[in-house]
């Protein structure tokens, strides 16, 4: 399967391919792509459930042996070949063209659902301008004698998220109707994406200055605010207390490896596209290390305000629990107000329990435990839209905090969207889907329009269940497969000697031994292990989901349901299809070669294919 292509490295022309305005724009775009919503709502959660500070050990080991080498590989590849993912992999070898197509497919799938998450963020943002915040109070029921039942049984925050935002159906098979308010927000989000990516990196390069830097400002503000809140220190201690025993659990190592991998947005093709707009004589090694370290530092930095706020929320909930118990006791025993305070609560309880045990038992007091409140860990949309919004209500000046928080989430997501869209846009531009004379704005408009129309399906009542599916299956397993083939392809098919010469030519110095070892052995091995472990874990139980069903007897707990067979088939398709592109395309070329080689007068096509693929694309500005 190894092909020996032309010996001399092709010197690419410094022509009318778009360029970054300056190096800082490029670095910022890569950082913006890597730093996304996951840094805020997944990393702190993983830290919390995997032994706090101890989680940093597998995390940094994974960063060193998996994250940085793969990142360097992609950036070097894109920078040297000066093409998007499809063109680049076709250049490396036509048999590896499937890798490019696979990563293009994943970028498409992720762009579709990622922008819908941003739609939810935008919806919350535009609702943050009201006093009081709409998720702080329950609406009244029809005859105004009490609160809406669904809201009263769960909480106002839950109600606003599940009913007023998603209008969720109790089952994935029930699609429900299209929610018009979500359609409006979705349209606005896709228009924003169009506005920023209208001319490729020419426009995203300007937009990234705002969307990549603004989140850091807001995180700092939240950090200062968070640390002044009562209970913040409890949250932080809880987060960072290391529990080294947890390292014996292989699940922790798996989570660390997958977190690093997905956090750096590897194998999407977006990084290759970004790097392809660089001048070839650029130090990609330093860039890779910089981006990876900034991404990890951002995760750590973001977890501090997140956990201060969560600690504040747990403390407030604990105080509320105590206060409710105190009021019940005072009312029952007709004791004067303020006779029982939080401080002497326990002594009072023990005294009353010994003297009037039946009365105390009759009150059915809830057991208030701060640890229990701190243990309620959430990640993902639950963290942002339920837990954090609840905490924001408790802060003074909640409108301002809500607005800041949601703008920050929106910028984080938007800068990642730029990378996703670039991963879709650049290969299409090079494949010349639209005629050369047509402006770039047309192609980006078509991409955004088609994506908007397909993403309308996520605004149905069952939309959020589908987004969970896409997140779990389309954006996980295929990426591992593609990344594995990327490393194998470059190291063993393109040949590491040739690649290291290319990188030396670009950076101006010899490749360190670390890169050789990492690329040749450690990274592929790690990827293989992670892939197998991941798939094994997924296959161990039938895929299930939790549904929000007001008619469930355990309501407000979510109902555990199994996916119907047709949905399971879609899950398998999403997970398998992008990865299957690799062997399918290789097989296709093999068959083509065999057919051609049967005809001796025919010159083998590979000689021309790489030269054909090398033709630089020129397009009108």
């Amino acid at each position: 399967m190894s092909k020996d292509l032309s010996a001399a490295p092709e010197i690419p022309k410094e022509d009318d391919r778009p360029k970054w305005d300056n190096k800082f724009q490029y670095i910022l775009s890569c950082i913006g792509f890597a730093v996304g919503l996951g840094n805020v709502w997944r990393f702190p959660y993983l830290c919390q459930i995997h032994g706090g500070g101890a989680f940093l050990i597998p995390y940094f080991i994974a960063l060193l042996f998996e994250g940085i080498p793969l990142l360097h590989l992609e950036l070097a590849l894109g920078q040297y070949l000066r093409k998007g993912s499809i063109g680049a992999w076709n250049t490396i070898s036509p048999y590896l063209g499937g890798v490019g197509i696979g990563s293009w497919m994943v970028s498409v799938l992720v762009s579709l659902y990622y922008n819908t998450v941003l739609t939810w963020v935008m919806w919350y943002f535009i609702n943050s301008f009201q006093e009081p915040l709409p998720w702080s109070v329950c609406p009244l029921n029809e005859n105004r004698t009490g609160f809406n039942e669904e809201c009263h049984e769960s909480t106002a925050v839950n109600y606003f998220w599940y009913r007023k935002t998603l209008n969720i159906t109790p089952d994935i098979a029930e699609s429900g109707k299209l929610q018009w308010w979500l359609i409006l927000c979705l349209a606005a989000c896709w228009l924003i994406v169009y506005l920023c990516t209208i001319r490729g990196i020419e426009t995203t390069g300007k937009a990234i200055y705002v969307t990549a830097i603004f989140p850091y400002l807001v995180l700092t503000i939240f950090l200062i605010q968070g640390l002044t809140l009562p209970g913040a220190t409890e949250g932080l201690i809880y987060l960072f207390t290391p529990n080294l025993n947890i390292l014996k659990n292989p699940r922790v190592w798996l989570d660390a490896a997958t977190q690093i991998f997905f956090s750096l947005s590897l194998a999407f093709g977006g990084l290759i596209a970004f790097a392809s707009y660089n001048p070839t004589k650029n130090d990609c090694e330093k860039d890779a290390v910089t981006v990876a370290i900034v991404n990890s530092m951002t995760s750590l930095y973001a977890s501090i305000p997140v956990f201060s706020v969560l600690g504040f929320k747990a403390t407030t909930a604990y105080w509320d629990c105590l206060d409710r118990n105190i009021v019940n006791i005072i009312n029952e025993f007709d004791l004067p107000e303020e006779s029982i305070m939080r401080q002497n609560y326990t002594s009072w309880i023990s005294f009353l329990n010994s003297s009037y045990p039946e009365k105390i038992a009759g009150l059915k007091l809830k057991n208030c435990d701060l640890q229990e409140f701190l243990d309620q860990s959430v990640s993902g949309t639950g963290l942002a839209f339920i837990v954090f919004t609840q905490a924001i209500i408790l802060m003074p000046g909640s409108q301002a905090w809500a607005i800041l928080f949601f703008i920050m989430l929106f910028s984080l997501g938007l800068s990642s969207m730029f990378g996703n869209i670039e991963g879709v846009f650049t290969p299409l531009l090079e494949l010349q889907i639209i005629p050369k004379s047509a402006p770039k704005e047309l192609l980006s408009g078509i991409i955004c329009l088609i994506s908007f129309l397909i993403a309308l399906s996520f605004t149905l009542g069952s939309g959020s269940y589908w987004i969970d599916i896409f997140d779990r299956y389309a954006a996980s397993v295929p990426l591992l497969v593609i990344a594995f083939f990327e490393v194998i392809g470059v190291v063993y098919i393109y040949k590491i000697k040739r690649f290291s010469k290319d990188v030396e030519w670009m950076t101006g110095r010899k490749l360190n031994l670390y890169w050789h070892i990492a690329w040749r052995f450690i990274s592929p091995l790690l990827l293989l292990i992670v892939f197998m472990a991941f798939v094994t874990l997924q296959l161990q139980k039938t895929p299930s989901y939790t549904a929000w069903n007001p008619k469930y007897e355990g309501f407000p707990m979510k109902e555990e349901k199994v996916y119907p067979p047709w949905v399971q088939a879609i899950c398998v398709l999403l997970a398998a299809l992008p990865g299957m592109c690799v062997p399918l395309v290789a097989l296709f070329h093999l068959v083509k070669k065999k057919c051609r080689s049967k005809d001796p007068s025919f010159v083998p096509s590979e000689v021309f294919s790489c030269q054909g693929a090398n033709s630089t694309f020129s397009h009108p500005k």
């Binding site: 609702n127 004698t145 506005l195 209208i198 107000e337 704005e441 009108p620």
Partner: protein, 224 residues
């Protein structure tokens, strides 16, 4: 005379004790949380406050039934605790030793709840009449939801940005086309003036050049 007075007083007292006791018929329990409502500005609950309470209940009854027969002495308070909570009944002075039906009292209190609350600087939550539910005030809803307005603003900004970028793109495109056609015209002119290194003006465009070499050969050969 004195004995008769004492007798009637004791009868009245016993009757009152019979009428007002916890869980008596037509009796309501009231729970007041002054410190929760007012914090540092809390006042103490004493006999004067009780008097005011009786007055407010009598006022409510008068307003409700619009017959001015209810007196402050008709309102009986009992079992005042430190919490502060107590029971009260409203007696009917026209019928001896009976209490006004609970439904009437409830309706009267409901109608005048706001006035009663304000007299004590308390609210529905801190001056609780157990068993009398309060109607909740509807939330203030503006005619256009606020979020729609914000959305409109955001959308206008985005559309303006897109229109600006598209228009500037078209203008640049047109300018580039104009520039490139001008450059092409310029190159053509330059090309026209130089044909094979010989300026066209020098070339005789009429019949062509007579090539001396061949012309000489022609003269040597005889014609056929």
């Amino acid at each position: 005379m004195l004995r008769a007075l004492l007798l009637t007083l004791s009868v009245v007292a016993i009757a009152h004790a019979e009428l007002c006791k916890p869980d008596a018929q037509n009796a309501f329990k009231v729970r007041i949380s002054i410190k929760t409502a007012l914090g540092d500005n809390a006042y103490a609950w004493d006999a004067n406050e009780e008097y005011l309470f009786k007055a407010m209940v009598a006022f409510a009854m008068r307003r409700y039934s619009s017959k001015s027969t209810t007196q402050i002495s008709n309102v009986l308070l009992c079992n005042v605790t430190d919490r502060v909570s107590f029971w009260f009944v409203v007696t009917d002075s026209s019928k001896n030793v009976t209490t006004v039906p609970g439904s009437e009292v409830e309706a009267a209190i409901r109608m005048n709840r706001n006035r009663i609350n304000n007299a004590f600087l308390l609210s529905d939550k801190t001056l609780q009449f157990l068993k009398i539910t309060s109607t909740l005030s509807p939330p203030v809803e503006p005619s256009t939801p606020v979020w729609l307005i914000v959305f409109g603003v955001v959308l206008c900004i985005i559309v303006a940005g897109i229109v600006f970028l598209v228009v500037s793109g078209i203008q640049k495109h047109k300018k580039k086309n104009k520039d490139s056609t001008e450059r092409e015209n310029l190159e053509e002119k330059v090309e026209v003036t130089l044909e094979n290194g010989i300026p066209c003006e020098a070339l005789d465009l009429k019949a062509g050049h007579i090539n001396g070499v061949f012309a000489a050969d022609d003269e040597r050969f005889t014609s056929l």
